[in-house]
């Protein structure tokens, strides 16, 4: 057999949009394809008065997969953390989502210990039914460490409870985008600093044929990656893929973000707090704190909100958005990544993760020009499920809230069937229903459900092997061992200073 002629290879990649999504895609694809005969061009000037893309403005609060993605890229952690003023993240604290006085942690790590082949939350349900209701937060090393402001990298030794967690980051998105841009350009990506003036469809209307730039240049490509933000200049505006809005479920549509100098050492967790009309978030960088309000503009007057935000004295970024996604995320020779594909308010830190999943899958399914429809179908199946699963996860915080004011007390006309099923099964017996392609795993869903005040009506027979006293003793021991182990960890800021010195 002779060497096949690779005349169908996708060699000419054009990325539209130079924000976080665009440069992240350029860096990851450039790295995966390093050494290949491939050109990556990034058309990166935003048109004048384009609305700011929230993904580019908010600080990034990531999920643990980001550390894995960086390892794959060969992006050195210390360098990245210094450049992006990053801090470590062990959890997200949800305040006031059930009732105003309560808070709970969504940690990046295991809950409890594997006592039987069943989720630890089943034991908590059992104890709750016996009149004891220990808090799930006491059974997670990252939750305990987050509350105490401590951090160290997880241990590699599987025998210690200090190996039972992962970690994520908080960082400055613009600094990160610059870092990725440099990284991508060193790998050969070409930045084209020009505004997009027009997009041409192919003769049959199914593909993107070329872009026209403001300076008149015409750019053709084999594969176009639409990172143009919510306007979705290629996939939506040109190829007419409809946008399915989730507004009926997730009514927030505005955000105001501001940075203030930190008065306290950075916490190793993100804090989100439910408020009347929406919610707020606090993301700690090395020496600043980002504060943001996310709200429903039909319920909170944007001017009043802005005035309040401005009273802090720092500049305020204003953003509008609609939660939802494109019905297809890849059509023809065009894949959308970031807000051009869909947007989900950052209540569960999914922004960068959805970009990351999209780019990872695009690399795994990287098409030849002959295989676009096959690869697009699989990408749409898997990534569509990822977006919808993430939406369910955010939405459960609304629909399972016990707060008495809007939007928390609003019952939508109907629930997404997938979420209705998940909630029904959890309420029925603490079972977490997982689809094939999901960002969040069993312990994440269980923590969120329990944190939102759901108490399953039954627990698993697997949690019913020993008597109450034995279970209580084992559970108490787990909490004790975790508590003692966390006490040995250094304060987060001290660890950061030493690690990044």
């Amino acid at each position: 057999m002779s060497e096949p002629v690779h005349d169908m290879a996708t060699r000419n990649l054009v990325i539209v949009g130079g924000g976080l999504a665009g440069w992240y895609a350029a860096a990851r694809i450039g790295h995966a394809m390093r050494g290949r005969k491939i050109t990556v061009r990034v058309v990166h000037a935003a048109p004048p008065r384009a609305p700011a893309d929230p993904l580019d403005v908010f600080c990034a609060s990531t999920l643990p997969a980001q550390a894995v993605a960086h390892a794959e890229l060969g992006l050195e952690e210390r360098l990245f953390m210094r450049e992006c003023r990053a801090t470590f993240k062990l959890a997200t604290e949800y305040r006031g989502f059930t009732d105003p006085a309560r808070s709970y942690m969504l940690p990046h790590g295991e809950i409890g210990a594997r006592l039987e082949a069943v989720g630890f939350h089943q034991f908590i349900t059992r104890l709750a039914q016996a009149g004891r209701a220990p808090d799930l937060d006491e059974f997670s090393v990252p939750s305990i460490a987050a509350r105490l402001g401590r951090f160290a990298h997880p241990s590699q030794d599987a025998r210690t409870v200090l190996s039972t967690y992962e970690y994520a980051y908080h960082f400055d998105t613009q600094a990160y985008t610059r870092l990725l841009r440099g990284f991508a350009q060193r790998l050969g990506a070409v930045a084209i600093d020009a505004e997009l003036a027009g997009v041409e469809r192919s003769a049959d209307g199914r593909d993107i044929a070329a872009l026209t730039l403001a300076d008149g240049e015409r750019i053709t490509g084999d594969l176009f990656i639409d990172c143009s933000g919510a306007r979705s200049a290629l996939l939506g505006a040109t190829l007419d893929v409809p946008f399915d809005s989730w507004r009926g479920w997730l009514p927030c549509d505005r955000a105001l973000a501001t940075r203030v100098p930190a008065l306290e050492p950075p916490a190793p967790f993100t804090r989100v707090s439910a408020e009347a009309g929406g919610w707020t978030w606090q993301v700690p960088l090395r020496s600043e704190l980002e504060q943001a309000q996310i709200f429903d503009s039909s319920r909170v007057d944007p001017d009043t909100a802005l005035k309040r935000a401005l009273s802090g004295g720092a500049p305020v970024s204003e953003m509008s958005f609609v939660n939802g996604r494109r019905r297809e995320l890849w059509r023809g020779n065009c894949v959308a990544v970031g807000a051009a594909a869909g947007f989900l308010e950052p209540l569960a830190s999914t922004g960068l993760q959805l970009i990351n999943e999209g780019v990872t899958r695009l690399v795994a399914l990287f098409p030849d020009r002959g295989s676009m429809p096959t690869m697009a179908a699989e990408y749409n199946r898997a990534m569509g499920a990822m977006y919808d699963g993430a939406r369910d996860f955010v939405l459960l915080h609304y629909l399972l809230s016990r707060r008495a004011e809007a939007p928390w007390n609003v019952e939508p006309a109907s629930w997404p069937p997938s979420l209705a099923r998940r909630v029904e099964m959890f309420r029925y017996r603490g079972r977490v229903v997982l689809e094939d392609d999901e960002i969040f795993e069993e312990s994440d869903w269980a923590c969120a459900f329990v944190g939102q005040g759901e108490r399953p009506a039954r627990y698993s027979i697997l949690a019913d092997q020993a008597n109450d006293a034995e279970v209580l003793a084992r559970v108490a021991k787990i909490a004790r061992v975790m508590q003692a182990a966390v006490q040995k960890l250094p304060p987060h800021h001290a660890y950061l200073e030493r690690y990044l010195a």
Binding site: H6, A9, D368, M375, E378, R431, D436, L462, D464
Partner: protein
């Protein structure tokens, strides 16, 4: 298996378990091959491996050899383990495919330790050290199911399961909702229960004869509907794998036990008479037949609801997919595991049953699709059965997976159900579904560098297999 698992996880003060069986009704199974999950089942019950193997005449199993499937004369092994190792983050099978498209001819089998060991009749258990050449694979067993059942019976009875010998002559349903209220035995004894588990076989004594649950017929995808089985004397080395040899209207299994070999011919009655099937079977034995051939009839498919009202159908009463990939015991195990996870109270709420049926449907359908792949992906045109399966339409859930592999070697992974990426790669490649293109991540990789990587792996596989004793030696020493 159901009684033992439930006895393991249900507290006797909360639930009593009774098992009704009749010695008049025989057990199907003449040498059962399994997948590695069986070891988890045994560990959960705390069975001692050597004791279990002695009492069921078991052998170790590293995979299944498929002979004559894609073409007459073809042979490949579906191993329980990974192929090779990735190259700079690119999956091994993509590297192999890159070189294949460049004209290299080394079979993918050369990069699998369990295959190399199997071919040489060798066996040693895997080590936990991922760097060791003896890592990265699993194993299962081949055993005598007629001996495993009494073994589990003794285990269960010691833990409080009450066994009643008797034949069920009547099933009484509750007037209000049609739930099963009681069974009446030939002796006149009435047995009442909250939950009934129907392990009565194809017949579906409770789920079908009483509850009329209905059956989804998959014969249009898997046309075989008969089997004829016979044990024979052992000959030659004790092989640590099952063999499935395709014939003209079906296929023949060969399952080596310590003391004999189990054989059977699965065929389609549309294309072959029972006499011809038995003759083919007897002609293709390694040694002297030890019994008269026994015939079995079946309809491939699945009960419409494997859990209906207060009756869960487990085993053949729940559904049947021919044992080409040794999945029968796995599907029993999966049913029992899901039942324990979703163990009901006396309300039998629909939400719970629906969830059980959702996951069991997936379990069955994913096994079915994998089996359909073996038939459909053939080039054989020498007999009507092969012409039929080659041209038939296949489930969409399989069609798109095959297309993705054929296009570029992409394997679709899923959460619920059997068969991970290496299994799909083994069967795609073995059935000659070969990717048209290579992974673009390897576009620039210098071929000689890839060849060096492959050479190292091949040498390691050979060395690893050489370091193992023969299975016969290993069993003599440890079992």
């Amino acid at each position: 298996m159901a009684a033992a698992s439930l006895a393991r996880f249900l507290r006797p003060d909360q639930c009593s378990i009774r098992l009704v069986e009749s010695a008049e009704i025989g057990i199907v199974g003449v040498g059962e091959a399994t997948v590695p999950h069986i070891r988890f089942f045994n560990q959960t019950l705390g069975l001692d491996e050597a004791d279990f193997m002695r009492k069921t005449h078991a052998t170790f199993k590293l995979g299944i050899e498929f002979v004559n499937w894609a073409r007459l004369g073809d042979s490949y092994i579906h191993p329980f383990g990974d192929y090779g190792r990735p190259f700079r983050g690119v999956k091994f099978h993509q590297v192999w495919n890159r070189l294949r498209l460049a004209g290299d001819t080394s079979p993918i089998d050369d990069y699998s330790l369990p295959i190399e060991a199997a071919k040489n009749a060798r066996f040693a258990p895997p080590t936990n050290d991922p760097q060791s050449p003896l890592a990265g694979f699993g194993y299962a067993f081949q055993f005598d199911a007629t001996l495993f059942a009494p073994y589990l019976r003794a285990w269960s009875e010691q833990r409080g399961v009450r066994r009643t010998e008797g034949r069920v002559v009547d099933v009484t349903l509750r007037g209000t909702d049609g739930f099963i209220e009681s069974l009446t035995l030939a002796s006149g004894e009435k047995i009442e229960g909250d939950l009934f588990i129907d392990c009565s076989g194809f017949f579906g004594l409770l789920t079908e004869k009483s509850l009329h649950t209905g059956y989804e017929d998959w014969t249009h995808w898997l046309p075989c509907d008969r089997a004829v089985a016979v044990p024979c004397e052992s000959s030659g080395p004790l092989l640590p794998y099952t063999r499935a040899t395709a014939h003209t209207a079906g296929w023949q299994w060969r399952i080596p036990l310590q003391n004999r070999i189990g054989n059977g011919h699965v065929y389609s009655s549309k294309f072959l008479s029972d006499d011809e099937a038995a003759a083919t079977l007897l002609k293709n034995l390694d040694g002297k037949a030890l019994a008269e051939p026994r015939f079995l009839k079946f309809v491939t498919g699945r009960r419409k609801k494997t859990w209906n009202r207060n009756c869960v159908a487990i085993g053949l009463s729940g559904g049947f997919v021919e044992p080409l990939e040794s999945t029968s015991i796995y599907l029993i195990q999966a049913a029992v595991t899901h039942l324990i996870e979703l163990f009901p109270d006396r309300n039998f709420d629909a939400v719970n049953l629906d969830e059980y049926n959702r996951v069991m449907d997936l379990e069955f359908e994913r096994v079915r699709d994998f089996i359909v792949l073996h038939y459909h992906a053939t080039e054989r045109d020498d007999a009507p059965l092969w012409n039929y399966v080659r041209n038939m339409s296949i489930p969409d859930s399989l069609a798109y997976k095959m297309e993705l592999f054929r296009e570029r070697g992409v394997v679709v992974n899923y959460r619920v159900g059997l068969f991970f990426e290496p299994s799909w790669v083994a069967v795609y490649v073995g059935q000659r579904i070969l990717p048209k293109r290579f992974d673009p991540l390897l576009d620039d990789a210098p071929l000689d560098e890839l060849r060096r990587h492959m050479g190292t792996l091949r040498t390691a596989v050979q060395a690893g297999a050489r370091a193992m004793p023969t299975q016969a030696e290993f069993i003599a020493r440890h079992v």
